[in-house]
């Protein structure tokens, strides 16, 4: 009886220490060098190589793709929509898109129905955005949102999440940039806070400026999707950094088998928040410590 037990223990140990299946060669295609894409590859290389994966750089659409590296790789990682489009044009290797907005990923996937492709998207789940609002401002009950053409499909998801969170959604749809002032005024008049969505129409620099100016006028804080938006003047934002996305990808790789089975399209489980203290003070809001807020949000998601 001792031998089989020992065998079992050995098997378990080997499963724990050296997952037999998990070392892969990954070809990374970036939309362009530098900036956030660079931060992503660096994080991926550090985390991936720790897990035994081989990370190779297979070019950018601008400087050309290394098709040899792509065809040899177990998985292609395309960072950004230009990279994804370039990869899908030349290869049918399993591909995971990262650093991409959900709506853009869906558009590209529809154009390439036969591609084996999934994504870790930048968009934060509706529940997470609302949880941020509720955690930062527990008294806020009416949440305003402006939907542009690129984000109109998110309305039902936000409606559902709002119903679960116990807040009311005050939505306004825009079809052109000229609709913004009126729609903004209507939302700010009836909502306690405004969630800014990453829509080209609603979050262009000009529109973001108008939204923030309006938000101060009505004393309604803006909750946004990026650190830059908080620097510009939003009260708070929840977002996944390039490192969060790389960590999500590596965690999936570490747990996957050969041949690779692509994950479902999803947002990273890890995320970060940012708070603009000056805006909080100007709007006379008493907001807790960032770490405590982040812990509360993370704890809420684990439940």
């Amino acid at each position: 009886m001792i031998r089989p037990l020992r065998l079992l223990a050995l098997f378990l140990l080997s499963a724990l220490w050296a997952p037999a299946t998990s070392a892969h060669e990954i070809a990374v295609v970036l939309s362009q060098q530098g900036g956030a894409y660079q931060a992503f590859t660096e994080a991926l290389r550090t985390l991936g190589e720790r897990g035994g994966h081989r990370i190779v750089h297979a070019g950018t659409p601008g400087e050309g793709l290394d098709q040899q590296l792509i065809n040899r790789a177990a998985l292609v990682v395309a960072a950004g929509s230009p990279a994804l489009e370039a990869v899908l044009q030349g290869s049918r290797r399993p591909t995971v898109a990262v650093m991409i907005a959900r709506n853009q990923f869906e558009t590209i996937r529809q154009r390439n129905p036969e591609a084996t492709v999934s994504a870790i998207v930048l968009d934060q789940p509706a529940e997470r955005q609302l949880a941020l609002v509720r955690t930062v401002l527990p008294d806020a009950t009416r949440v305003g949102v402006l939907f542009g053409p690129a984000t109109a499909t998110l309305e039902s998801a936000l409606e559902g999440a709002a119903a679960n969170t116990g807040v009311r959604l005050v939505g306004q749809r825009l079809t052109t940039a000229n609709d913004l002032p009126q729609a903004l005024e209507r939302v700010l008049r009836s909502a306690d806070v405004l969630i800014a969505l990453p829509d080209p129409l609603v979050s262009s620099p000009t529109a973001a400026r108008a939204i923030l100016l309006g938000s101060y006028r009505y004393q309604r804080p803006v909750f946004a999707y990026s650190q830059a938006y908080v620097d510009a003047g939003a009260l708070a934002a929840v977002f996944s950094t390039p490192a969060d996305i790389a960590a999500e990808l590596v965690a999936w790789l570490d747990g996957s088998t050969t041949p690779l089975r692509l994950p479902a399209v999803r947002a990273p489980r890890s995320f970060d928040i940012a708070i603009n203290r000056q805006v909080a003070r100007a709007l006379n809001l008493d907001i807790g410590d960032e770490t405590a807020l982040l812990d509360a949000l993370r704890a809420g998601e684990r439940q």
Partner: protein, 678 residues
């Protein structure tokens, strides 16, 4: 956001206006969605643009928003200030409208309360360094909000902010789109027309443009019984062109250009009481005034904790009411041309997480040219330079300290130094106590020093007083601010003691030689309290109650004491009358109540009620106590993206009363306004 460190925003030179991350320029075409997550955005929450918490403010502040302006039923901007405790104004007629805080009237143009529009002072060298309320260069519809600082703040706003500040912020061009048309038609000749439009200028710019004309027949003249022809109605017409544009250049730079023109035509003059015939040396005639202005402003935000603003303003004002005088020939009393160039640099930053500092300097060049008022003198130029610093420090959550100082050099009035300090104690999140102390100066106008106006070819009407000192203020105040958010209620109380030394009065003849002068005859003590209570019991209901109680005691200044006993002047025999002019220049008590109510079906309704005790606007006039009720009903309709509003406004529902002097009767005035947003 990490707390800013002191070293981060001290930079030797302004960096170029280019910011790129992931190769995306901020002002470029709308980026694709995934780029949005990592692209930079213009810094909107720059330290000078973010509103200061009322609980941290060094003075009592009344904020008037768009909804309040609309609900007040005001047609003229001056009428809005009836809703600010401690302010006085009157319905416009043949006498230029004035808006005063805590009285001290006498001049046609209020010079002791600073009026700013988007940082530009509206005070003019032509209008006795005061504000001409007939030439308001902005339509009410374009005002975003008005912040009225009740209390002296010359260290932040300049010499005219002697007793208070009216700070008007206009609509951001980014928030104005499409075309709006409005027309009003009512009794007493009310005919108003407005065109407003706004749009994008390229990828990163916006503009808004407004054209407005307002007309009415003014007020009746009451003489009992009426001699034929003695009832002369005034007539008013004002026209405004207002253009504001802005450009966001990259992440850090914002440029603003604005220009405009305001014109006014009124009937002026006097009639002889007995016959109703016009006076020969002051006949009934048109008074034409105009103000043209231009402003450029550059705001550079280093980051959200430091910015630098540079502003240049030019304005030119003209007044023409010339007529042929029996002995002087063509003459133009108070007329002429005044110009102003002003440049101001302002650096605002946070040296630490709980300190804010704004310091800067400005240079101003005023000219005044009038062949009647400055006879034979040509153009008079005046240069004024100013350096100032204001800061606040919050050492702990229950305490805010504010302090400011300024030094002003004036080529005519000399140099003046002014300090200010206040302590705000935050008892808790909802209750704040404030103690404030300020010293300030108000420098007299160019005309007060230099006037040379003839009465006849051989005698003088008005001569300048080169020895005139600046008026001096010492102010102590205790304030309380309650902000009960759960109840949607707030209360602001201000108790003040303001001492004004060398208060100046016009038309005093110091000797038997003809020729009036301005003399610093009084020292005043103003004491009283003001409060302002706001409550929003329901979403659709807003209530506001304001009250002011003030007592002014006038004493003779050393100059006044000397004039009171000196022979031959026109002061010694009328000391009591001048005393009255100072002591009754503000009503002992004044209150106002505003009720704004949203109704179902797109209707809303508002009532404003005012109670004002007697007041003396000039030496020879009185106005008895009056009550006044204004009301407005509006119906808003929508047709797709188009919006329209039909409104009916009635002023002085309680009927005939006088506001400025007993001879000018304010009667019920009502009009209908239709506005369409296309």
């Amino acid at each position: 956001m990490p707390p800013p460190t002191p070293c981060r925003h001290i930079r030797p030179a302004l960096p170029p206006a280019v910011a790129a991350l992931v190769g995306i320029t901020v002002a470029g075409p709308a980026p694709a969605s995934d780029d949005l997550f990592f692209s930079e955005l213009p810094i909107v929450a720059s330290v000078s643009r973010l509103p200061q918490r009322l609980a941290d403010a060094p003075s009592a502040v009344t904020v008037i928003d768009r909804a309040t302006i609309r609900a007040s039923g005001a047609r003229a901007l001056s009428d809005v200030f009836r809703l600010v405790p401690g302010f006085q104004t009157f319905a416009g007629s043949d006498k230029p409208v004035a808006v005063h805080y805590h009285g001290i009237t006498d001049q046609d143009y209020a010079a002791r309360t600073q009026v700013l529009i988007d940082g530009r002072s509206l005070h003019s060298p032509l209008f006795s360094s005061g504000m001409n309320w007939e030439l308001v260069p902005v339509a009410l519809e374009d005002i975003e909000r008005i912040e009225v600082v009740r209390g002296s703040n010359t260290t932040a706003y300049g010499t005219n902010a002697f007793l208070g500040v009216i700070n008007i912020v206009t609509r951001e061009p980014a928030l104005v789109r499409g075309l709006s048309l409005a027309a009003s038609n009512g009794n007493q000749g009310v005919r108003d027309h407005t065109l407003r439009t706004g749009g994008a200028l390229g990828e990163a710019g916006n503009f808004r443009l407004t054209l407005q004309e307002r007309r009415d027949d003014g007020l009746d003249h009451r003489l009992d019984p009426h001699p034929v022809g003695a009832n002369w109605r005034t007539s008013n017409r004002t026209r405004t062109l207002d253009v504001r544009s802005d450009f966001q250049l990259g992440q850090h730079d914002y440029l603003e250009f604005s220009f405009g023109r305001a014109e006014s035509r009124q009937l002026t003059g006097r009639v002889i009481r007995a016959s109703g015939a016009p006076e020969a040396d002051n006949p009934l005639r048109n008074l034409d005034q105009a103000s043209t202005w231009l402003q450029a402003r550059w705001l550079h935000s280093y980051a959200d904790f430091a910015d630098f603003a540079l502003r240049y303003t030019y304005s030119a004002d003209t007044l023409d009411n010339s007529f042929v005088h029996p002995t002087l020939g063509k003459t133009n009393p108070y007329g002429g041309r005044g110009t102003r160039h002003e440049i101001e640099a302002l650096h605002t930053f946070l040296p630490s997480a709980n300190t804010r500092l704004a310091w800067g300097a400005s240079w101003r060049r005023d000219t005044y040219d009038s062949s009647t008022m400055l006879y034979g003198m040509g153009k008079v130029t005046r240069n004024i330079g100013r350096v100032f610093a204001n800061g606040d420090w919050r050492p702990t959550h229950w305490l805010t300290l504010n302090a400011g100082l300024s030094e002003e050099y004036d080529s005519i009035a000399g140099s003046h130094f002014a300090p200010r300090a206040s302590i705000n104690l935050h008892i808790d999140q909802e209750n704040t106590l404030r103690l404030g102390y300020a010293r300030a100066w108000r420098t007299p106008s160019t005309l007060d020093y230099k006037a040379y106006q003839r009465a006849t070819p051989a005698t003088m009407e008005w001569v300048g007083n080169p020895d005139l000192p600046a008026e001096r203020l010492k102010s102590v105040e205790v304030g309380y601010l309650g902000d009960w958010r759960a109840w949607r209620m707030s209360l602001d109380v201000r108790h003040f003691r303001e001492q004004v030394f060398d208060r100046q009065i016009m038309r005093i003849r110091p000797s038997a030689v003809p020729g009036y002068t301005v003399q610093n005859v009084h020292d005043l003590e103003l004491r009283g309290y003001e409060f302002q209570w706001k409550w929003q019991p329901f979403d659709g209901t807003r209530l506001q109650f304001n009250h002011a109680s003030i007592r002014i005691d006038a004493m003779l200044s050393p100059v006044g004491q000397w004039l009171a006993v000196a022979p031959g002047n026109n002061f010694s025999g009328r000391v009591a009358q001048y005393n009255e002019l100072s002591e009754n220049s503000a009503p002992r008590r004044s209150s106002s109540l505003l009720w704004m109510q949203a109704l179902p079906g797109g209707f809303d309704f508002s009532v404003a009620y005012y109670r004002v005790r007697e007041i003396k606007w000039t030496r020879n006039t009185d106005a008895e106590p009056y009550n006044r009720t204004d009301a407005r009903v509006a119906y808003t309709f929508r047709n797709g993206a188009r919006r329209g509003e039909l409104a009916y406004t009635m002023q002085s529902i309680d009927g005939r009363h006088a506001e400025e002097r007993m001879e000018r009767i304010v009667e019920r005035r009502h009009w209908v306004t239709l506005s369409l947003d296309l």
